[in-house]
């Protein structure tokens, strides 16, 4: 045991608390636990309790009905695809923002954040107007046999719009921090541009990209406002899980709503936990 003199830095054997010269561990830790409990834990626990009160049989009947299963598949599937699309194009946008200075750089940067600020219903209405069979873009896609509005594709378009800032803002600082010298080192060793990207740049920004994907995915799973306009909400085909919950609530079926919410929450938590563990494993591997 280290022999720190003042009574403030004592460490009982086996304690996970690191001795520190900075005071306020108790205060900050206590506050953050209280805060998380009030804001996150208690509301979520209420959902569990509510759904626990309904009995297993009823829970399965509502929470795992065919209609609900189709909604989960749609919500998680479209969110995953939209997250992947955002990972690719968000990386591209981040790259351009970090690597090049051009007139209007600040404007483009501000534009990226706009999906955060816009009421999601506005986004949904705008996208529907554009992609509807008689809309600006929809009218040209229609003859090609591509339907966007009122199909799962439309949901993906809405989720891509909503999720873009997450990937861009996660990747941008890491890319800026990566430094030119690592790329130059690869070049002096004879690597081509493509080899440099594949073997040096991409692995370095991958964790940030994964974080961006996870955030965009999580947002996509829970997204409601922008999707309900463009999806058409056909049960079993284009009905997302959050909408199903609202539908239940409108019919005063609170138990059913919490059952669906519980399933969604567990699934989301599982995915996010897996992504976090993957990150932690990588960090352990590469040292400090």
């Amino acid at each position: 045991m280290p022999s720190h003199s003042p009574s403030t830095i004592k460490r009982p054997p086996g304690s996970w608390r690191q001795p520190s010269v900075l005071p306020g561990f108790r205060l900050t830790f206590g506050l953050s636990v209280t805060w998380l409990t009030l804001i996150v834990l208690i509301p979520l626990a209420t959902i569990f309790m509510k759904s626990a009160g309904m009995g297993w049989h009823e829970f399965v009947q509502v929470g795992l009905s065919n209609r609900a299963l189709a909604a989960y598949r749609l919500s998680f599937g479209t969110a995953a695809v939209a997250g992947l699309v955002n990972a690719v194009f968000g990386l591209l946008v981040a790259w351009v923002l970090v690597r090049y200075t051009f007139p209007g750089h600040k404007v483009v940067s501000a534009l990226v954040d706009l999906p955060f600020a816009l009421p999601t219903a506005v986004a949904g209405i705008a996208l529907t107007a554009i992609y509807a069979p008689n809309g600006w873009i929809g009218q040209y896609l229609e003859p090609l046999g591509i339907k966007v509005a009122f199909t799962p594709l439309g949901i993906i378009v809405a989720l891509v719009f909503i999720g873009l800032p997450f990937v861009v803002r996660s990747v941008e600082p890491v890319l800026a921090d990566l430094g030119k010298d690592v790329e130059e080192a690869a070049a002096t060793l004879g690597a081509s541009r493509l080899q440099t990207f594949n073997r040096v740049i991409f692995p370095a920004i991958f964790p940030a990209l994964l974080t961006g994907f996870a955030l965009a995915f999580a947002r996509g799973v829970g997204e409601y406002g922008s999707v309900i306009f463009i999806s058409g909400n056909m049960p079993g085909r284009t009905e997302i899980a959050p909408l199903l919950i609202v539908t239940q609530l409108e019919q005063y079926a609170y138990n059913g709503a919490t059952a669906i919410a519980t399933v969604m929450m567990l699934a989301s938590f599982g995915v996010l936990l897996a992504l976090n563990l993957l990150q932690a494993a990588r960090r352990r591997r590469y040292g400090a």
Partner: protein, 316 residues
Amino acid sequence: MIRIQNITKRFGDYLALEGIDLEIEPGEFIALLGPSGSGKTTLLRIIAGLEFQDSGQVFFNGDDVSERGVGERHVGFVFQQYALFRHMTVAENVAFGLSVRRKDRPSKADIRARAEHLLRLVQLDGLGHRYPGQLSGGQRQRVALARALAIEPRLLLLDEPFGALDAKVRKDLRRWLRDLHKQMGLTSIFVTHDQEEALELADRVVVMDHGRIDQVGTPEQVYMEPATPFVSHFVGETNLLPSGIHVRPHDIEIVADGGLPVMIDNVFRKGGVWRIEGTIAQHDQVVEIDLDASLVAPAPGETVQIRPRRVRNFQE
């Protein structure tokens, strides 16, 4: 042989290099020495092909490589901050240059064997499986060196190679690098702002200031016969006496009479000598004197007479 001919480089309005001419013989160990902003790093990067000159040429063994990119010049480059690939193991870092070869790439087993050999050479055998984040600064520097040597470069370029290391590690690494340079028959150029490092390591020192070369010479020459007041001032310690006379602290002796009167301000032991700080009374000019430690040092407040033994006069 490396020949650099009339190189000029501007960054916007800023003239980074102006009319640089330099020839480097095979096997030489060259130091580019100068303060920050002298253009030394820019010159090194132009030789590497990481930066391109506005005018002038670079020749490697008579071939004009001025237009060739860094990948084609086949030089080893060690970066100031190491620039290691953090997500790769030490062995993967070292093997990188071989594994990205597009034609006649060695087999996997050959690459591994070569990486192991290089790690032994830089005294890091057994650490190949670690990640750069798990190494000390000195070890990282040696990984960077092994990685640069893996492509068997004819020319090794090092940008402030010891800048980020503490004094003890720096000294050990310096000596070790000198041995390695000899043992491998390399031609090496390194950039430094530390005159002691340049004098200790280099066969020849190129002293630069404001984008120009002030002097090229052996450490002996640049120290004993500085070509310009700047070199005299920058390389080693110098007292600036009135009317353009430069004199080293160890080139001053204390005499009984007939010298310049100096008021002693401070005396302390500096390694093997007494360092005396005084003021030349009639010019109000600070002067530093090194006195053999076996002699009795004057006390602060005393006035002594000094006489320079050897001076450089830069008066036109």
